[in-house]
Structures are given as structure tokens and as C-alpha cells.
Amino acid sequence: MTTILGIPMQALLGQILIGLINGAFYALLSLGLAIIFGLLNIINFAHGALYMLGAFAAWLLLNYLGVNYWGALILSPFIVGVLAVAMERYMLRRIYKLDHIYGLLLTFGTALLIEGVFRNQFGVSGLAYPIPAQLQGVQNLGFIFLPNYRAWVLVASLFICFATWFLIEKTRLGSYLRAATENPKLVQAFGINVPLMITLTYAFGVALAALAGVMAAPIYQVSPVMGSNIIIVVFAVVVIGGMGSILGAIVSGFGLGLIEGLTKVFYPEASSTVIFVVMAIVLLVKPTGLFGRAE
């Protein structure tokens, strides 16, 4: 069997794959955080909880209404997105004029509330979500066995990231968003309903998190704590990438997932902390983050 630095090729590729899958979720979540931050100037601490909610919505839809994975892929982000609309209208809107710290505290409270309620209902042990029938099975690529579902997650998340990037950077709607990120009042003075745009942007960013949650459901256990576990890592990813760019969020998401996967092969003890170490190094070398602009 082929080995690289004493590591079997199979194991290496396997961990790279897991790293990329994790990276896909980091990318989807940090993408949503970056879009929301750009327009609302709020770090959405509830992002992890809403990702968890997306996964739970899929599980509940399947077990109580018999809606399958593909239905959940559409419905769950929609449901969580509607919740986000309510959150923006009734909570976030009231604190835009305050110090940004309050946005963090408010969404942190929301995260605790959501997670607490679900922990109370479902406990902390995870619930299984079956892989949809169409995506079961494994492809033998010769050098690695690639589970179909994981391949799907990888392809789908890359597509979603690309589509989001395209929407924001290359379309008219995206130019409204970019302009409003720079100067919302002026954009509103041109006749664009910026308050509505803010609501929809928040809902879109949150829907991305919920979508990630649905895709994560068959891979990880559906659990109330899945959100808080990932959100802190995603914060580190965001600090590393810098909030400035959409592409930066995507690249650093996948990149750090990969680094984490590789660390699991070569130095497993550090795999849970490596992203934080990278963050510390990046902060020392380039405090604004790899793709960030000055504050």
C-alpha cells in the first residue's frame, strides 16, 4: 500500500475528504455570517443555533410529516428563514443604532434560548437522520472509496457557494447589496427599500445556515449542541479570512477544513485546536485577516 510520510494513502485521502466536508459547512456558515455582517453590522451568534434548527427541521419534517430529504432541503431553509424574518423585524431592528456589541449579545441570547429549548425537548444525545435512498452507496475511485452522500455534499456546497458569489458579485441584485453594505442611506435615497433588503439578507444568510444544517443531518447526529460546537470554529474561520470578501469566506472555510483534516492524520491531538492556532498566527501576522480590509 502507498504511504506518504508513513501515513497510508487511504487514510490520508479519507481525512482530506472529511476535512473538505467539514470545510464545506464552515464555508456555508461563514458565507452567511459575512453577508449578514456586511449589511447589518451584526455578528450573528445565533448562526450555529439556526444551523442546528435547520437540521432539526429536517428531522421533524421526516419523522412527523413524512417529508423526505429533498423536500426538507427546500422547506427547512424556508421555515428557518421565516423565523429569521421575525427575528430581524422584532429584535435586531431595534439595536442597529447601538454599539455592535449589543448585536452580538442579543444573538448570543437567542442562541442560548434556541439551544436550551431543544436540549430540554431532545436531550443532548444525537438523533439519526438516514441518508436518502438515492445517495446511499459508495463509489470506488480506485484510490479511495467515496461515499455518494459525501460527494453530493461536497458538490452541492461548492455549487451553493459559487451561486451565492455570483449572485452578489455579478448581478444587479448583488450590486444593490454591495452598495447598501457601503452606504445604506444613500441606496435607500435612490428608491430602494433598504429595510426590506436588510430583512431578506438576514433571512438569506440564515437560510444558508439552515441548508447547511439539512445537509449535515445525515453526516453528523442531529443534536441540540451541534450548533454551538461549530459556531466558535466558524468564528475563528471568519477572523482568519476577514469579513471583507465573499470569496475569502468560501476559500478560508474549505481551506481550514482541509488543514483540520490533515492535522487529524499527522498530529491528531491538535486537530480540535489547529484552527485556533492558525487564527492566533494570522492575527499576529496580518490582524485584518487574510482577505480582510482595514477596519
Partner: protein, 327 residues
């Protein structure tokens, strides 16, 4: 931050006498309290009150929201436990070990975190604290999921048996007062004044020749050390240091305590800590509702009660205050 400004206690001449009165009143309350309330509850509340005061130094006087203070609280608890149980040091030395350790950790984390401002600072401290948490999960010393159990309270200065609840209580009160005195001294000193100037307008402070990063770093170290003092003492009280102490939820709790009491007020963190500890004690049997209720409290505080309890009291008393700017 416009809502976190500290208001001087009072500008008129009765300042000193009023302080003495407050001190006597506080001393009396602390002396009588253990005969009225369950002493362990009091000790816990005092530890958390000190922890919250340490956190408040950063947010209230430095404008820095740390979302990673559990790292200092928890690592000091482990270090103190290690010193007391495995090295057999006396309690005061064990607490000192925890405090100094937390201060050193604060030196390292602070050096990295102060490179960013505002919400980034919050995210960076959260992430670095999570690193400490993962370290605690893996390190053999900490006992992992089971925590570090059976930490002996020992004999203070080798003489006073802290297994006596009242002796332990007196020790905790002493630690609390010392910690508070240090923080108070720091805030009132030229150092504290400079820190406030940096909080209000960092660029201006820099242009006046202050090395703002050095001040913020020093404040961070001090805050971390006092948080460590609180954590180490807590480890002796409960004879336990566990992953809960280093977890991000603990960082969130101390933020909540300070927020409820009033960000940047002197007494706010103490009041907030007592409320949260009481809430935890009475809600203990309802399990995870504690988290949900804390979350809801956060939301209510941010949306409707940003000045906190003590802040609101000040506002009522200072009737010349203008209403908050309309939104």
C-alpha cells in the same frame, strides 16, 4: 459605548463618609449573611461576583467585550486544584498559583486578542478560550469529563482548617475584598483614567502619546488574574474543577451577570452575579431550562434593559439625566 459610561459615585463632600458608610454596611451584611443564607451559596455568589467584577474591568473601563473569560476562571481552578491536591501546597499558595497562572495565560491571550477591536475582539477571545477548553478536555491532569475531584481545602497558612465552613467563608470574603480592592485601586489610579480615555476615544489617546495597546494589554492581564483568583477560590470551595469552568457557556454567564447588573457600574457585576447564582440554585432541578431562561434574560436585557439594575437605579437617582436618544 454610550451606555457603559461610569458615573462618579457622587460629586459632593459627603463622598468619603458615604463610602465609609457603604463599607460598614457591606461588612455587616457579609458578617450576618452566613447565618441567614446557606454559606455555600454565599461563597459561590462571592466567587462569581469577583469573576464578574474582573470581567467588568475590561468592558466597563476598557470597552473590550471578552467572550473568553472562562479560560482564566477555569484554568486557575485547575491550577489551584493541582497545587493543592497534587503538590500539597497550602490553600493561599494554591490560590496564588491559580491567579498567577491565569495572569500569564491572560498575558498570552491578551497579546493576540488586543490586535482586534470591537466584535472581532469578542470573537477572538471566544476562539482562544475554546482552544484552552479543548486543551483541558485532552490534558490528563484535568480529569477530562470527570473533572478534577477531591481538591482539599487544606489549612490556611498551615494553621486554620478550611473544612470548617465558617473559616472557608471568611477566607472567601477576604479574597473577594482583596480582589475588589485591587480592581478599585486600578480603576481609580492614573492607569484607570488612561484606560477610560482610550475607551472613549482611542485615536485621541494615541495622539496624546499613550501606547493604548500596552494599557489594554495590562488591563487584560489584570482582569484575567482576578478572574483566576475567583476561579481558584471557587475550586477550593467546591473542591472541584471541571470542564464547566472553562466552557464557553461560563464565559457567556459572566457576560450575562455583568449585563443584568449594569455594564461598567461598580456594583452591577456583584448584583448580577448574585441574581444569576440564585437563579441557577433555584432552577437547578429544571435542568436545561436554565440555559433557555438565561438566553431569554439576555434578549430582554439587550432589548429593554441595557443599563442593568444598578444602572437603572443610578438613572432614577440622577434625575437630570437626559432620556436615551430616540431610535
Amino acid at each position: 459605548m454610550n451606555t457603559t459610561k461610569t458615573r462618579p459615585l457622587s460629586r459632593h463632600n459627603g463622598r468619603l463618609s458615604r463610602r465609609i458608610a457603604i463599607f460598614i454596611l457591606a461588612a455587616a451584611v457579609l458578617a450576618i449573611a452566613p447565618y441567614v443564607v446557606y454559606p455555600v451559596f454565599l461563597m459561590k455568589a462571592l466567587c462569581f461576583a469577583l469573576f464578574a467584577c474582573a470581567f467588568n474591568l475590561l468592558i466597563g473601563y476598557g470597552g473590550l467585550l471578552s467572550f473568553g473569560h472562562a479560560a482564566f476562571f477555569g484554568s486557575a481552578a485547575y491550577l489551584c486544584g493541582y497545587a493543592a491536591r497534587d503538590l500539597g501546597l497550602t490553600p493561599e499558595l494554591s490560590v496564588l498559583v491559580g491567579t498567577v497562572g491565569a495572569g500569564l495565560l491572560g498575558y498570552v491571550i491578551g497579546a493576540i486578542a488586543i490586535r482586534r477591536h470591537g466584535i472581532y475582539f469578542a470573537m477572538v477571545t471566544l476562539a482562544l478560550a475554546q482552544m484552552v477548553y479543548f486543551f483541558a478536555v485532552q490534558a490528563p491532569l484535568t480529569g477530562g469529563e470527570n473533572g478534577m475531584q477531591g481538591i482539599p481545602r487544606g489549612f490556611l497558612f498551615g494553621i486554620i482548617d478550611l473544612n470548617n465552613t465558617m473559616a472557608m467563608y471568611a477566607f472567601v470574603v477576604a479574597v473577594f475584598l482583596i480582589g475588589l480592592a485591587v480592581l478599585h485601586r486600578a480603576v481609580e489610579s492614573p492607569f484607570g483614567q488612561t484606560l477610560k480615555a482610550i475607551r472613549d476615544n482611542e485615536n485621541r489617546a494615541i495622539s496624546l502619546g499613550y501606547d493604548s495597546n500596552r494599557y489594554k494589554h495590562l488591563a487584560f492581564v489584570l482582569s484575567a488574574a482576578i478572574a483566576g483568583l475567583a476561579g481558584a477560590t471557587k475550586a477550593l470551595v467546591f473542591q472541584l474543577a471541571s470542564l464547566t469552568d472553562v466552557h464557553w457557556t461560563m464565559s457567556g454567564e459572566v457576560v450575562l451577570m455583568t449585563l443584568i447588573g449594569g455594564l461598567g457600574t461598580t456594583l452591577g457585576p456583584v448584583v448580577g452575579a448574585i441574581i444569576i447564582v440564585a437563579m441557577q440554585t433555584y432552577l437547578a432541578e429544571s435542568g436545561s431550562w436554565v440555559t433557555a431562561i438565561q438566553g431569554a434574560t439576555f434578549i430582554v436585557c439587550v432589548l429593554m434593559f441595557r443599563e442593568g439594575i444598578v444602572g437603572a437605579v443610578w438613572k432614577l437617582r440622577a434625575n437630570e439625566r437626559l432620556p436615551e436618544p430616540r431610535e
